[in-house]
């Protein structure tokens, strides 16, 4: 439990960073997990192929909300080419949770990453393969 609900996760859950919406935006992508009803909307403003501003909103468990909060911090200034390389391993390292043996909670953690990937690929007019969401 201390692993899963370490202070950082609870802190981001209580006081999420970059919480809200952007209007106007270049990317707005909503993803949800039908198993538990978690919902994340991720808004981005893109300048010179870089993420200039980011905001997320939604409802869900501590893991999904904290992961979104931490991910948005990471995204500010990120080049869109780097978004393509940013995957599950990077996100899990960022949030520091041992979720390899917990596929149900892994989905919670990855919900914001899915919104990011689907949204950015759509913005770039590129097709996303299921592999890239793993």
């Amino acid at each position: 439990m201390s692993d899963m609900y370490r202070d950082l996760i609870l802190e981001h859950h209580r006081y999420p960073h970059n919480f809200g919406t952007l209007d106007p935006h270049d990317v707005s992508q909503e993803e949800h997990n039908p198993l538990c009803g978690d919902r994340i909307r991720l808004d981005l403003r893109i300048v010179d192929n870089k993420i200039a501003e980011v905001a997320f909103s939604g409802k869900g468990c501590a893991v999904s909300q904290a992961a979104a909060s931490m991910l948005t911090d990471e995204l500010i200034g990120m080049d869109l080419d780097k978004v393509r390389e940013y995957g599950k391993a990077e996100l899990l390292e960022l949030i520091g949770l041992p979720l390899d043996k917990n596929p149900v909670r892994l989905k919670c953690a990855l919900l914001s990453l899915k919104a990011l990937k689907v949204g950015v690929y759509r913005y770039l007019g590129q097709h996303i393969t299921p592999d890239e969401l793993d």
Binding site: M1, M4, Y5, L35, C36, G37, D38
Partner: protein
């Protein structure tokens, strides 16, 4: 405060999984999803493979005859368990879901027509919704649902109106989320009065209380072995013989035929007509052992004990601030389970923290999305009991919830 009509400690000792050496034994509160198995059932399954393994209804050799005898004896035990008037009325399926699909396809495919109504309720499990949607799409029949009130009971004020045009009333005996025990006999009487048939989803009732298909005067009953101490992979459809006799096959293949030519076939009598292919022989035999185990303790005794557990569970949950539980107050029409929410804390987080405290509960929508829409929550936590649950399990749940509050408070 709880006076079990049987020795719960002895019962627990008969479940190997509850005896595993562990620093922190599991308080297993997810029996509504799938129950644990007593040694008698595990042995019956293993012994079949060790001593009796052969296909049924085929061989002329002794081993096959023995397997057939045991398989058919299990059918007889199940028939006795639910007071079926004939063992041929018991069809082995994979689970409740398959049993309901069988009726929806085989009965519905022949008897439902455009604008016929299938009446369900707002509290149904997806397994008693989706099969009816599939056959409704094929036949032009329409679905209608009995609403529920704020205490999770069916609203029956307008039942006569709701029953207009109904050909099939398919409804759960006990909700897998609210714990509500529905007045099935009364509903069956009203449905029959308008010429409708009645299918009861007994997945949550048959394991926990006496269910007598003749006393309830219903037409079909579906339930699962794995929720009543039996193995996974075996379930039961009981149906009135006259109805089953008139139904076409569900799946085609071996065992379900009389004669086959390349062009056409004639079909076997019930129940073989609905048991295409090699069945789940060992699992059915083990289900027979589970039924024997339950009957030895007595379903009325189990219901009496679980009724007390239900009261204790609600009483203890009421002590935890910020817990909202769903369903009727503890009483005769509530089973020993509770789905609940805690203000501002997601059910996944609650279940995860409880797990780290050794308490196994389920979090999610429990395959009842329309019900959760009515409850106005995306998901909930569910704690559910069985005959091996004791008050200590419930106490550990409540202590775990205090931990949740500490962390998220």
């Amino acid at each position: 405060m709880i006076n079990a009509p049987f020795d719960v400690a002895t019962t627990r000792s008969q479940f190997p999984i509850l005896q595993l050496p562990s620093e922190r034994p599991v308080a297993f509160l997810d029996s509504a999803s799938s129950s644990q198995k007593p040694e008698a059932v595990i042995s019956a399954l293993a012994n079949y493979y060790r001593t009796t393994n052969a296909n049924v209804h085929r061989g002329v050799y002794q081993l096959s005859e023995q397997a057939t005898f045991e398989f058919e004896r299990a059918r007889g035990r199940v028939a006795l368990f639910i007071n079926a008037s004939h063992h041929r009325e018991v069809i082995f399926t994979r689970n409740t879901t398959e049993a309901i699909n069988l009726v929806a396809q085989a009965w519905g495919g022949t008897n439902l027509h455009a604008d016929d109504v299938i009446l369900l309720s707002q509290m149904e499990h997806h397994s008693n919704i989706v099969p009816w949607q599939l056959i409704a799409q094929r036949t032009g029949a329409v679905l209608r649902a009995i609403p529920i009130d704020g205490q999770g009971r069916l609203v029956l004020d307008n039942i006569d109106t709701l029953l207009q045009g109904v050909k099939m009333l398919a409804i759960t005996h006990q909700s897998n989320v609210l714990g509500t025990i529905n007045p099935v006999a009364e509903l069956a009487r009203k449905a029959h009065a308008v010429g409708a048939l009645v299918l009861i989803d007994g997945a949550q009732s048959v394991p926990h209380m006496p269910v007598d298909v003749q006393a309830l005067d219903i037409d079909f009953l579906a339930f699962s072995g794995h929720k009543m101490l039996g193995p996974t992979g075996v379930g039961v459809l009981w149906g009135r013989k006259s109805l089953l006799d008139a139904m076409p096959p569900f799946l085609g293949g071996g065992s379900m035929i009389k004669t086959v030519t390349i062009e056409s076939s004639t079909y076997a009598d019930v129940p073989a007509r609905f048991e295409a292919g090699t069945p789940m022989i060992g699992e059915a035999i083990a289900l027979g052992a589970a039924v024997t185990y339950l009957m030895d303790i007595g379903m009325a005794n189990i219901a009496t004990y679980e009724h007390q557990l239900s009261g204790y569970l609600i009483e203890r949950l009421d002590e935890v601030h910020d817990v909202t539980w769903y369903g009727p107050p503890a009483g005769a029409d509530r089973g020993a389970m509770a789905a609940f929410s805690m203000t501002g804390i997601h059910p996944h987080d609650i279940a995860q923290i409880l797990d780290s405290e050794g308490v196994a509960v389920r979090a999610g929508h429990h395959c009842t999305q329309p019900l959760h829409v009515a409850l106005d929550v995306p998901s909930s936590v569910r704690a559910s009991c069985y005959l091996y649950t004791d008050t200590d399990d419930i106490d550990r749940l409540v202590r775990g919830l205090s931990k949740v509050k500490q962390l998220f408070g």
